[in-house]
Amino acid sequence: MTNIPLIPVLLLGAVLFCLGLLAVITKRHAIVVLMGIELIFNAANLNLVAFNRLQPDLMQGQIFSVFVMVIAAAESAVALAIILKVYQYFKTVNLDQIGSGTDT
């Protein structure tokens, strides 16, 4: 049935993970950082689904990817709420300005 080999999938996951990490590291906008984190989650999901073939009967990989999604959803909801709160307080979501928010 499936003809997709494991390596390309894992490499794709690695690329996505690195891009997500890059976004997390380099971006100054808090929401873009959040997007980077979502990307990292997705890379992890990809790996989980790919490794699902280890024990296809148990579906551990897929189930855990669903759990990861649930956590991601919860995390993003809370993170966005925090970002909005930060925005209300600092009038900016620029991470650098938040860090030294009081004196800028």
Partner: protein, 174 residues
């Protein structure tokens, strides 16, 4: 080259391209739509990996929920001033360096690791369980083997819901 693999590469390239666009663009909204495309491509890849439930869940949770939330967040946290929402980058060189190094390490690991699963799965279809869809298995597993994580996840969701609602409530000073 079989069509499934071709599709995988196409969607993989789309995902990588959109993710790269997300990192590269300065416009936050474009970044969000880049993320959207990545997520959709990944959903497609999930289907190719026989994870249809995960794919639809991906659509439902990420596309219907997270991206909408992010878009909402962008809109609510920026004054509309006639120009697109910009996001500058910092640590560009050092960040890229670190990420490249990491990717090198990961790629090395992936390529050199010895997998317990066959790199290419069993070619004969007969060996695979005759399930049309993964959802029945997932459903059964969720309420048997994974009942506790399932309940915990629901609890986390509830707590996150309440927390988010509480955090974003404006305090009333009177």
């Amino acid at each position: 080259m079989n069509p499934v693999l071709l599709l995988f590469y196409v969607f993989g390239l789309m995902a990588v391209g959109a993710a790269a666009f997300m990192v590269a663009t300065k416009n936050v909204l474009y970044a969000a739509f880049g993320l959207l495309i990545t997520l959709l491509s990944l959903a497609a890849i999930f289907i190719l990996l026989f994870a249809d439930f995960v794919a639809v869940a991906q659509l439902m949770i990420y596309v219907g929920g997270v991206v909408v939330l992010i878009l909402f967040g962008v809109m609510l946290s920026n004054q509309v001033q006639g120009k697109a929402v910009q996001s500058e980058s910092v640590n560009r060189w050092s960040g890229s360096l670190v990420v490249l190094t990491l990717f090198g390490g990961l790629a090395y690991l992936i390529l050199s690791a010895n997998y317990l699963v066959p790199a290419a799965p069993l070619a004969s279809a007969g060996d695979l369980p005759e399930t049309k869809t993964s959802i029945i298995t997932i459903g059964i597993r969720l309420i048997t083997n994974f009942a506790l994580p399932f309940e915990v996840a629901s609890l986390i969701l509830l707590i996150a819901l309440m927390g988010a609602a509480y955090i974003s409530t404006e305090e009333k000073h009177d």
